[in-house]
């Protein structure tokens, strides 16, 4: 399966999963199943959207890594939040926070910020948009418009 196909699979399965989650909530189902659907939906739709953003038909290694980080961090973070036992006031804290709160705030809310922007900067540097590249693109687009049949 190509990267874009994986992207489509993640997007569509994520949207379907969210629809199922909402339906389960509407039917009064227990929270865990609906939450599992919602967790997968969030991770899959965002990772899938990253993959679909690939320029051209192939997904670069950097973009695939970004999608994998988003999918993995979100799904693992939500799964731990759902699965770990409830803390007590006397239990151990992680950086001053209850363990599950720390996973949410620092894992889901911070960890991607340490990876994604730099991956983007690196990918963009590999395909620069300097003046010459833009001029070439504009000229190519003008040529395409001249050659296009008038509609």
């Amino acid at each position: 399966m190509t990267g874009r196909r994986v992207g489509w699979f993640l997007l569509v399965s994520g949207l379907a999963s969210l629809a199922v989650g909402y339906l389960l909530a509407a039917l009064g189902s227990s929270g865990t199943l609906a939450a599992s659907c919602g967790s997968y939906a969030v991770a899959a739709t965002l990772a899938g959207t990253f993959l679909l953003a690939a320029p051209g038909r192939t997904v670069s290694r950097g973009l695939a890594l970004v999608a994998a980080v988003v999918f993995g961090v979100l799904l693992a973070g939500f799964a731990l939040a759902l699965g770990l036992p409830v803390e007590s006031a006397e239990g151990p804290l992680l950086l001053g926070l209850p363990r599950r709160a720390a996973i949410v705030l620092l894992g889901v809310g911070l960890l991607p910020a340490l990876v994604l922007p730099w991956a983007y900067a690196r990918a963009a540097a590999a395909d620069p948009l300097d003046a010459a590249a833009i001029r070439a693109l504009v000229e190519e687009c003008e040529r395409l418009r001249r050659e296009a049949p008038s509609s």
């Binding site: 909530a25 939450a35 006031a89 948009l129 418009r145």
Partner: protein, 487 residues
């Protein structure tokens, strides 16, 4: 009202007026008015995008929501670690290159070019105008509260004074004034938030002591989903994650960048600035919950969390800076939206380009004034309609623009019919659903939010209709636009 708070407030308004005057003198073309002359550096652009995407809610409503509902409230802001990069990767380069290739100035114009459709452009423009009026009206109301808190003017006079300032520089200086006041306002917001974070996490014996106090009094609050069902928190993440791809006040900034190659640094700057500015949300919410759990008087309203913290547990100068920061957050958002609506009214709904530049500039200023006055009249009425429109706005941007714009720009199989159907469903569906929920004619099940439902529905409609009409896709996409989409 404290003298220090009032003095800092006056200095803040003087600084805004100074920047606006400087920028207004340079606003001599419609290009300067609508896209800051495409002459903005990446630092200015990214911080302006941050400032315009955070309204006063980030400083007042957000901490209040966290105080009231627990950790589930942070799922509104958790996607900030991802959305800057997501926006750049999906739309940043494509929108900027479309501006180079086709001279595109507005988001509806980009949609019109993408689908070769005036109707798509008009519908997107209409969605932006409708949502803007509501969003600006709610922000004017919030501005009235802040000006009253700083100067003791009363809410309505405060609203008129605050609105007059932001209307003046938005009308005269357009986006050029807006983007440089946004830079100042964004820096103020980030700086104030960072200082509050330091003070708040040291409050009550430090973060660990705060955590233990909360766990002892209300263990559910510090659970990973707070006191709401997990699906509610996850719905927030979905809407504020994917929905960011439809926020025109941020996307519009891509057109302003002077050197497109510098776009590579946008996610790093935007994400860092956003995370620093959102520290206040988390720190004040936790500190006030811990304070109340430890015996401080309970808050009369959750929205009092920030002001109570500042007035009772922080130095007065910090309180002054944060209140100015709240005004900054509101004004930067209002300015960005007024400019977007003016562009939609003058260029997209009556499709125009290539007109005399002075005429376009004059029309842009009149349109800004008209939208602002309409929003002010709505805000002065202060009835439930304003609150409804405010709720409606964010959800409408997400459901109307994300499918057609974000997925339309990365999927060559998207069709005009898919875009029109998803936008029409989004506008009508969001108004009906949010209206019914607001008027209590409909109660959504626990964990389900209206914006999440409408974003999901509009995406499914877009994908489904585009797939059904896929035979037309190739014919509705110009070759040069296809080339841009593949960059």
């Amino acid at each position: 009202m404290s003298g220090t708070i009032a003095i800092v407030g006056v200095l803040y308004f003087i600084a805004c007026a100074g920047i606006a005057t400087w920028a207004t003198r340079r606003t001599t073309t419609s290009g300067a008015f609508f896209v800051a002359g495409r002459g903005v550096g990446v630092w200015v652009m990214a911080i302006a995008a941050m400032a315009s995407s955070l309204s006063g809610f980030a400083f007042i409503g957000g901490p209040g929501l966290l105080y009231a509902r627990g950790l589930g409230a942070v799922y509104i802001i958790l996607p900030a670690a991802i959305t800057g990069t997501l926006t750049a990767w999906v739309l940043g380069r494509r929108l900027r290159l479309l501006a180079e290739v086709r001279g595109v100035v507005t988001i509806p114009e980009a949609l019109g070019v993408r689908y070769r459709s005036v109707l798509v452009r008009r519908l997107a423009g209409a969605a932006i105008v409708i949502a803007t009026v509501g969003y600006v009206a709610t922000n004017f109301l919030a501005l009235g509260l802040v000006v009253d808190a700083v100067f003791g003017t009363g809410v309505v006079p405060g609203m008129v004074i605050g609105a007059a300032v932001v209307i003046a520089y938005s009308t005269a200086g357009g986006m050029l004034a807006g983007v440089y006041t946004d830079l100042f306002q964004g820096a103020l917001m980030a700086g104030a938030s960072l200082l509050v974070f330091v003070v708040a996490t040291a409050d009550g014996g430090g973060l660990a002591a705060q955590g233990r106090s909360i766990l002892a009094a209300d263990p559910g609050w510090f659970g990973p989903w707070g006191n709401a069902p997990p699906l509610a928190a996850l719905s927030f993440f979905f809407v504020f994650g994917l929905g960011t791809l439809g926020q025109p006040q941020v996307l519009h900034k891509f057109y302003m960048l002077r050197d497109p190659d510098r776009l590579r640094w946008y996610p790093a700057i935007m994400t860092s600035a956003m995370l620093v500015t959102l520290l206040l949300w988390v720190a004040v919410g936790i500190a006030m919950k811990a304070a109340v759990a430890s015996g401080a008087p309970a808050l009369a309203r959750p929205d009092d969390a920030t002001t109570t913290f500042l007035l009772t547990r922080a130095p007065v100068l910090l309180a002054a800076l944060v209140l100015s920061g709240v005004a900054a957050a509101i004004m930067s958002t209002v300015n960005a939206f007024l400019n977007l609506a003016a562009a939609a009214l003058t260029r997209d709904i009556p499709v125009r380009s290539g007109h005399d530049d002075r005429v376009m500039l004059r029309r842009g200023r009149w349109a800004t004034l008209a939208v602002a006055l309409l929003a002010l009249v709505l805000a002065l009425r202060a009835d439930t309609l304003v609150a409804l429109l405010g709720v409606f706005a964010w959800g409408l941007f997400a459901s109307a623009l994300v499918p057609a714009l974000a997925f339309g720009m990365v999927w060559e199989g998207a069709t005009r019919a898919g875009a029109l159907a998803s936008m029409a469903v989004a506008i009508v569906g969001t108004l009906l659903l949010e209206g019914a929920v607001h008027e209590r004619a409909l109660t959504l099940p626990a964990g389900v939010n209206g914006s999440g439902v409408m974003l999901l529905v509009s995406l499914l409609v877009f994908l489904g209709v585009s797939w059904l009409t896929r035979a037309r896709a190739a014919g509705e996409l110009d070759a040069d636009v296809r080339l841009v989409m593949r960059r």
